[in-house]
Homo-oligomer: 299 residues x 2
Amino acid sequence: MIAVDWGGSNLRAYRLDDGGQVVERRCGEVGALACEGRYAETLAAVIGDWDDRLVVMCGMVGARGGWVEAPYGPCPAGVEALAAGMVELTAQASHVRALAGRSLWCAPGMCDLRDAAADVMRGEETQVVGLLEQLVPGVHVACLPGTHSKWVRVEDGVITAIPTAMTGEIYGLLRGHSILARGMPQAEPALDPAAFDAGLAQARAGAGLLHDVFGVRTAALFGRFDGAALPSYLSGLLVGHELQPALARAGDRPVHLVGSDALLDRYARALSAHGRIALRHREDLAAAGLYRLARARFG
Amino acid sequence: MIAVDWGGSNLRAYRLDDGGQVVERRCGEVGALACEGRYAETLAAVIGDWDDRLVVMCGMVGARGGWVEAPYGPCPAGVEALAAGMVELTAQASHVRALAGRSLWCAPGMCDLRDAAADVMRGEETQVVGLLEQLVPGVHVACLPGTHSKWVRVEDGVITAIPTAMTGEIYGLLRGHSILARGMPQAEPALDPAAFDAGLAQARAGAGLLHDVFGVRTAALFGRFDGAALPSYLSGLLVGHELQPALARAGDRPVHLVGSDALLDRYARALSAHGRIALRHREDLAAAGLYRLARARFG
């Protein structure tokens, strides 16, 4: 089968053998938000020469306004419920010769409407399904950092909570468009570990995020850090503020981290500063998740 | 004398009698950041026909890169210390006929470098000096909300802490430039009290600001509020998060609010929701503060 993790900014395709092992992988830069409605043509250009019949996708491609809407399923949900929410889009692909005759499906997102402040995710649920086979029964906590970081709680193979933190988006806004941008280099510099750690420590001081971020401005004014270290200080502040409520919920459990190496370096460092154990996982768990959803749905 | 509160976006001038009472006031739209270096000409256009000899200013006009740098004085500071930090700029104005022969001065800003996360303010210290004459000895807490809200602690007439919260700036970034902008009207709608209160309540739930703001997005997705109510919900979230550490520091004291009516309506409502007493003060306290600084400096 073919597994496709099609997010807003890129497309990752995996060819899997019958046991679910990845035998070939490809990455396209054409995100689901950028292909201007030409979903079938874009997909065919990436996987057209792979002859597998079953294609299962996840991510923004299944959002409202995407190729097909695969509605959010309610939290809690396990593999069976997510597999049951898969939506077929075989017909929508048949006009493109390289996709005709294939069976195309899209995995659903998840929503948690139990609290007044609702949460949603799309794509991360499939990565967590891919993680499940590594987890023993019991309670586990996974963090998928990014623009909108997800903190996923798993209880005996069922996803039971999906709180989001807008860490990455707020970092980008403050870094690029606020008064804090003054004195920062435009290009993203390498992580400055000491400044990042200082941000983590400040976040724990209890003065509040809205106060702490102003300290990036005064750190520039009074020369506490070089300009190239200021983004790391801001990053440490925000990651620190993300971690505090998340770790309070997690108890003393280790945290499974899923994401790119660069992001996971920061989060592992932050977890270590909090005395927590970080367990790192490769970003392409979506392939394993899509395989598992397909097995649950089609046997 | 003439008192001038010259901030980044506008200029407020007051003509005071010998007892410090305001006998005339004018407001110009030419902020210290917008007059392109023509400070003397801009000031002369507003106050040139007032014949008082002494002109005392505060605000961004005294920032580095402004008309004159009136350096930040250290916190704690009382009226005497602030008055001693006033910087003369008589010579810089003498080339403009309407200002020649006058004595021009600028009040300093304040900085607090005692914590690693430093704080600064410029202009608000003078408003608080104007407030002092209304305060009995003891500890008082004043909130000056805005782009960068200031929470000023006063002990027996001395300003002893000046923590900042970037509430207004982050509101503007999230409202205008983040994913939360989707579904919000472009023009600022009237305050929706129920949505604002819901934001305040969510901020107290302990899930963290980075999580709570994502709830504005899901509130739009799932129709919890009308689009016109979403800015009020976001505002309630951010003001609520500003208040929590600030009120923890304030103890059970009433909070003196200084600012525009529209902002003070929100903050008074938020303080009431926290069971706190709000004491509202007019925004033009700077005139009284500049009068008091001038008396301390010149008798």
